[in-house]
Amino acid sequence: MKYVVMQCCKGYAVLMDEESKFVFAANQGFEVGQIIINPVIMTNDRNDNRNITAVIKVIAAAAACVAIITGMGYSYYAQNLKTYSVVTITSDSAISMELNKTGKVIRLTSDTDYGKEIIEKTDIKGMDKLTAANEILQTEISDGHISNGDTVDVYVSGSDTAKTDSLRTELENELPKLDLKVNIHDGKAGKHDKVKTPEKDKDIPLHEKNKAENIKDNKNDKAPAPPVTTATAPAHKHDEVKPAVSEPAAAPVPPVNADKESLNDKKEPQGNPVPDEVVPPVADIPLIEGEKPVPPQAPDMNEKPAKHDKDDTGNEKPVLPHHNREAAEGNAEVPLKEQVHKELPKTDFVKKEDI
């Protein structure tokens, strides 16, 4: 290829080839305008490659730095900030302590207001697990939420079984130094776990306890307590049904058909608390002195219903439910349940306002 010398300098010459490409070449005594055939042309390829290599080196170094920093950061996180086990004290405070690998408290949580108060009040974060547990329990003792001899359940949970076991052993060895009965359990605490106080009736179920309290309140108010216990049907047809709550002696029992009464008793709600508007049978209500007992009023079956319908002749007739209407017209059989319902007096439950 022919080159035209375009410029001559001391160290180099600028040449233009036939493809109109301008190149640097060694100035081997050239003159401007001279045609050259085989010049020594400058090549920059090696330089470019080296630049790329340098860039790659810089990127690799930066990546290595990032990897080292990330690794160090993760190891610090795993050692100090990652939760390895959780200790939950199921007292009134219900505080859960999250512990790191070294057994230091890294986070404290509580669902109760009192627990949150303790967390704010005491500087437990960063403490050793045993010191923190002692601190919490002592604070609760001093605040009067726990008294000596109470039983406190402590739950220990964690991903590492061996670690959890050793933690449990430590707690078992250290916590009994307090004047409390501490039970250590594996796993997470339930929401309703509380301090067990050593009372006589501690084994009584909650609903039984409430019932007793209700009775007490009713006695104080001189009002009969609602029948909370399930009334059982009499074994014999003529057996008298005894109400669960002690009946006032002065209250005369109105003559009620025994059969009907036994049936009524069977229909009483089972176990559930009685709604406010419903009061016990009239027989159970103590009477005020000098007042005559009012026998229970059987519903007047001849009484007109609230809503009326008119027949073809224009006379009003009671509106019945669909199946009752069918029964009245003789189209369908009246079910046994309906028959029983009709026969039963509806005076067993009267509204408070009526009384």
Partner: protein, 240 residues
Amino acid sequence: MNSETHEIISRVNLAKTDSGEADKLISDYMPFIKAETAKFLNRSPDKSDDELSIAMFAFYEAIRNYSKLRGSFLKFAAMHIKNRLIDNYRREKRNSGNVSLYTSDDEKTELIDSISDTRDDYGEIEAREATKQEIAELSVQMADFGVSFTDIADNSPKQQRTLEICGRAVRYARNNPTILEDFLRTKRVPIAALAEGTGAERKTLERHRKYLVAMLLICTNGYEIMRGHIMQVLKGGENN
């Protein structure tokens, strides 16, 4: 020592962009260049030796390619000179089977004297003078655009594909005289019109703006010899 090193590096950095400073640096370090050539030739080089001019060119290459990551400049330049001389030696060795025109059998008459010379030396000298004039004119006109031949050599397309795209743009401008007139009037390369007319990437043309300045100037009137030299490129336009 440290201040000297800093001085060389600052001069090298300056010479990378300034061809005059590069010439000055080469002149100042001529003894060093000769010393490195002498190490290779095992003799003191003459001014007429190709090896010396190649060593000077290698020194200039070292100036352009040097960066601080490469260590000491003089060591880098010495290595560059040595490599260039070795490359040149290998290239010459490939032609070792050829007989030089200047060899003589009887030490009185050289081989060149025995061959009939069919060349028109006068015509050649005239053509060279005319080319020289054209190049001088082009150089002056390029200076108006703020471009030198060194800049163009730096900015010239390296890849064949890019060269073809630029050649297409030049051909398009040559076939549309209004574009060339606008170019001379506004002294701005009509990149948008060229990109639109040729379908080339605007970015590609933008990268080679200085090169396009030289090529578009050559396409204007007054540069017949230059146009004749790059006819291969311009011919492609006629085919399109």
